[in-house]
Symmetry: C2
Subunit: 336 residues, 2 copies
């Protein structure tokens, strides 16, 4: 049974296993370094739909369907689905999964949602509340740009600190089992806000939350960065990553030796014009459900930390002069 260790970390005994996972991405993601890792891609930004929002829902639906198919499961085999996205009122999720008929727990954690949903799904499986639970998130470059910044047609120029929202979705299915990679522990983060007001520099706004969560996790577990094969952050990008290193170093923790960021893995910085790196709910989700899980299954990675970070502002809060609160949730995935 799950129990608390230290101040914030929840340790699992029954080990909720990741029995299936899938990723579905867009054209730019398919052209990037992880091209061959994804289960599905389409070069059509509309994914055959009339709007980018409907396309995003279809990415989420596609990822769920592939994850189910890979495990030979049907929607009715899943007890609870945990989902979220970046769109207002999370319509990427509600329209993406409404046809599955699975009890639905809607989440909003901005780009931290893949770690949040996986952590909650793990708890439901660990405690026997779900026999099987599914976690899924998505984002779409075009729907995010329109909602958070400018419609693409305006041709607005991006700042050097801006990140590129990943078009894609990732889904994991968890079950109590005895083989394959499993979720060993999770840590939910608190909101951290150091007063960054530049909504085009979200990496910097999220770094304090990432530092807080990971340092809490190390304290709770009595471990250090060297105990893990890789520490994956979600989408801090190049600038947020540097801020994270400095903040951690200030607390006596050097994570540089083990750290990488999904937002810097998914695009080629030199060939693809993404400025500070990839971002979005779909960024850490699609990298977890491809590159990371493939290496966990092959045994190349045996013990990792997966920490998605989110910026909890909205265009409205930014227009009203508010700073950008950050959050980070952490999932420790192991394979035996």
């Amino acid at each position: 049974m799950a129990y608390k260790i230290g101040k914030r970390t929840i340790q699992f005994e029954k080990k909720p296993h990741i029995i299936s996972y899938a990723s579905a991405v867009g054209k730019k993601e398919h052209e990037g370094p992880l091209s061959q890792e994804f289960d599905f891609y389409t070069s059509d930004s509309f994914f055959g739909e009339k709007t980018f929002e409907k396309a995003e829902s279809k990415f989420q639906k596609t990822a769920v369907n592939i994850a189910l198919d890979k495990a030979g499961l049907k929607p009715e085999d899943i007890d609870h689905i945990f989902a979220g996205d970046l769109l207002n009122q999370c319509i990427g999720s509600s329209f993406g999964i409404r046809d599955f008929g699975i009890p639905f727990i809607g989440l909003y954690g901005a780009c931290s949602t893949m770690a949040l949903s996986t952590a909650l799904a793990s708890i439901f499986v660990e405690t026997g509340i779900s026999q099987r639970a599914l976690a899924v998130t998505s984002s779409h470059f075009c729907s995010a740009e329109r909602q958070y910044r400018f419609p693409l047609n305006y041709g607005a120029q991006r700042t050097p600190t801006a990140q590129w929202t990943v078009t894609g979705s990732g889904a994991v299915i968890l079950e109590q089992k005895n083989d394959g990679p499993f979720v060993n522990a999770v840590t939910f983060g608190e909101i951290e806000d150091l007063g960054i007001t530049d909504a085009n520099n979200m990496g910097a706004a999220m770094a304090p939350a990432a530092a807080s969560t990971i340092v809490h996790y190390f304290e709770d577990t009595g471990t250090c960065p060297e105990d893990y094969d890789i520490i994956f952050t979600g989408d801090l990008g190049y600038i947020g990553t540097q801020a994270l290193y400095e903040l951690c170093a200030g607390m006596g923790v050097n994570i540089r030796c083990r750290h990488t960021d999904c937002g810097t893995l998914i695009f080629d910085r030199k060939k693809q014009d993404v400025h500070a790196g990839g971002s979005g709910c779909g960024c850490s989700a699609s990298v977890l459900c491809s590159y990371i899980m493939h290496r966990m299954e092959k045994g190349e990675l045996k013990n990792i930390l997966f920490m998605s970070t989110g910026a909890l502002m909205s265009p409205t809060s930014s227009f009203q002069g508010e700073s950008v609160p950050g959050i980070a949730h952490l999932v420790n995935i192991k394979s035996v």
Copy 2:
């Protein structure tokens, strides 16, 4: 420990108790029939802030602070906070609770969020993952009108089926204890969408989800409406309530004999011009954390169902011609 009964319902053994609760509302709510039930009200729609959104965050912060004070607790005594609201990117919650330093699980379930957050907080306490967990939601008439419909200054006319978003917030604190009202069981609902496209008739759009969840609950538990003192829905209003009665009757369940709706309790239909009744995340939250909990504590109510309903659309999805998916989550609260 929690265990599943039937298909969807989670039954608790350790009985997470509601050790504290608080409500904070606006002027119109204070002028309504529940006037004397609320812990706090302000007649200032801005609550001393510069914007309605900041005011909404302050309502949420106020409800949390009063709930903590009533229990003699400090923020650090709470292990996890579950929160959500109706604003884009849930800024009512993230800005409302960022200063508490409590690990934060952000939710989006539209107006179903109070049942969703209470259900999740109960699970965390039941399973020992949290020693104490807090659930809180909010809504604000003025921020909701601007975001979902028209800025108030436009003076737009409301349809007869429209509901009035409650300005207010409610918060509950749960802990494993042995006295007072406790959460006995919870049922998470699935998304139901019968194709209603009128975003001004959300009661009708949410009724199918309410019917689905409650009929599942009765099947799972082998109980019937007469086994409960009152069945409270969140904010179906007058029109949604009639739809719920008909849908339940079609499945052989008559809930009319025991049912009432928080959206019809909070305002006086004759004296206050609210058309189809109150609505919003803050509606079921503020009624639960005042009227309902007061009667549970006094022993006037001993066994109730609290089922908040949500409409999972956004203005964008409505503009794109989409229907309004509904969801309903249910919490069974008992007192011994």
